[in-house]
Symmetry: C2
Subunit: 197 residues, 2 copies
């Protein structure tokens, strides 16, 4: 039952965004009364967290796949692959992305950390690759504090994704060009390749 609710919630989320996901509509979609949901989830926030977790899991799959596709290559290539996969996921799943990284339900002062092991795991993927970069490159701006540097990269990628998704980018700027250039520059920042566009 819990999973039936979650399935339906996911579908409604992807279809029309979190803003228009109401408990009553969700209940109607699964053919039960609204109150029933409250026997399986404490609140809408609780459901929100479940959706975040689901999204983190999907992102994790995507990132691991991207890494698997280039095992054995030099660290700079792997970093680029990771960044590219992250941005692609964010742009292709705007509703999930919103729930995972931009929506901030008013009731949550701070995110429950123990629930976010998967989120930290995703960040660790970046940190791990960055550690390799730190070893393999001698550039003056190579990573030093991998956790912080991973967060910095994440922030930059997040900036691009969220601005594009929120349609805040000036019309005259080509989106694909912007995204490609941004990712290239972020990667180049820590793992400079000899040729840069």
């Amino acid at each position: 039952m819990r999973s039936r609710i979650l399935d339906s919630a996911t579908r409604m989320l992807v279809d029309s965004g979190y803003a228009s996901l109401s408990m009553r509509k969700l209940a109607q979609a699964i053919g039960y009364s609204a109150t029933t949901i409250y026997h399986h989830f404490d609140s809408k926030d609780d459901l929100f967290h479940a959706l975040v977790e689901e999204g983190m899991s999907r992102l994790s799959d995507v990132l691991r796949e991207a890494l698997a596709a280039c095992t054995g290559t030099e660290s700079g290539v792997r970093l680029r692959s990771l960044c590219h996969a992250y941005v692609t996921f964010g742009l292709q799943n705007p509703e999930y992305y919103e729930v995972m990284f931009v929506a901030a339900p008013p009731s949550l002062e701070r995110f429950p950390i123990d629930k976010y092991r998967r989120a930290r795991g995703n960040l660790d993927l970046f940190a791990t690759v960055l550690a390799d970069v730190a070893v393999e490159t001698k550039h003056r701006a190579r990573p030093l504090d991998t956790r912080r540097d991973a967060t910095t990269i994440w922030a930059m990628l997040h900036g691009i994704v969220s601005l594009v998704n929120a349609r805040r980018v000036d019309r005259r700027v080509d989106i694909d060009g912007l995204v490609g250039d941004s990712v290239a520059r972020v990667v180049d920042m820590y793992a400079p390749s000899d040729v840069m566009p």
Copy 2:
């Protein structure tokens, strides 16, 4: 009257965020009925836009001040000053920042461009300094397309501000260090100084 509504709305926004800014509470705060507001603003979205414009104006002041404080210095310093001012504004005015750059009222498909001249003006400040950087530096990664590059920088700064404000950053990462390092790296990306921490 319109300005009295806006003043009160601003106060409520800063006090408790946009999420808990309701037309009824706003009306009560100024001592009128809720319907009155609808005679001065078409909808809550309309009021939202007015708040965005106010925020953009404040940001514009901050950015111009930051630039004025370092006229005559080399372009890299000016770029750093601009970035620092932007991030500081975002972190010190989280409610305004949310309305300006992260909140996305469901009704707005795309932002009304003509209303956002001030927003574009702020981006132009970055583009102008970047044009100077392009002239003054010979680094391989110097700015090329200043509008796109300005957007890239903006996206990266926005990523940091929005993640920090949304409290998404891992507790173990020092926020001040993260912010400082991120800004330094963004600046260094386009206008490398010889010494980098």
